[in-house]
Amino acid sequence: MSSLAPTTAPAPLRALTALDDFSEDMYGVNVVEVTNKGIVSVAIPNASKAAFSKAVTKSYKVDLPEVGLFTQSKTNNTRFLGLQQDQLFVLFDYAGDRAVDEISAKVNSDKQLVYLSDQSDSWVTLNVSGENCLAALERICSIDIHPDSFPVGSVARTSMEHMATIIIHESEGSYLLLSLRSFAHSFLHAVTTSIKNVS
């Protein structure tokens, strides 16, 4: 630590990713930390449902998802995750600090329709894909993610190894796993242990 008192304005803050941009190909499973995503939760009062749905269709050209599914828009690669009856998550490409403003501008301009909350820093996101991926997930995921039951386009909130997890089947054989950021190291450990154990 410097012993001299700085006289100038402080340097801008440095952002860290939860897992130092972890990326590894292990025994046929590719595990990559996904970064630069905005995550915004949207709470939708019953009365606003229709209007909000319209706003989304207008700005993003997609419908709102049913619970358990996501819809995907080309705009910023945005996914609307149907997590709860009156709440969804918006997951999109974004590197800034003001994810709420980003969404608000598009779908909540009058600030009254829905309630937004920034979740971008709340989650660590892993992308797992590859041949042994399902076998590895079988060790920690209690819900049925066989492609027949959990096809591409599905999302579920569950827990793995005592950690809250959102699992997204984003494309054929490729899954996004979101867990709470403070658990990042334990979560990664759970995933990589599974991969090792089934190798």
């Binding site: 619970v67 358990g68 709860q84 009856q85 709440q87 209690s142 819900i143 579920a156 569950t158 827990s159």
Partner: protein
């Protein structure tokens, strides 16, 4: 056990947190400001029964489960306390609205 969530389909009960008898949704009315002593005693009786007394049925039991590792919804599950068979699962919010629960 498996709880067949009305929105999410079958989920292991381990994802849920159990509270107890669904009668816990029937919170008695507050006695009001400046209530008489009698009204206070009556309200206390009602609260006592509400919070502490249970039918504790050996049979079909309506009970509250919270989907903590899921969609955060409270459910009213009808489950048999001897066989554990579940015959009905509802969103507690719907039940509350139907009951006329209000602030």
């Amino acid at each position: 056990m498996i709880i067949n969530h009305p929105l999410l389909g079958p989920r292991d009960a381990a994802e849920f947190v159990y509270l107890g008898d669904a009668s816990l949704m029937n919170r008695p009315e507050w006695k009001g400001e400046d209530a008489s002593e009698e009204q206070t005693e009556k309200t206390l009786d009602a609260y006592h029964d509400y919070l502490y007394i249970r039918e504790n049925k050996a049979g079909e039991h309506k009970e509250l489960w919270y989907h903590e590792q899921g969609d955060r919804s409270w459910l009213v599950v009808t489950r048999h306390t001897i066989s554990h068979e579940i015959t009905k699962v509802e969103l507690a919010r719907d039940v509350a609205v139907a009951n006329g629960n209000k602030s």
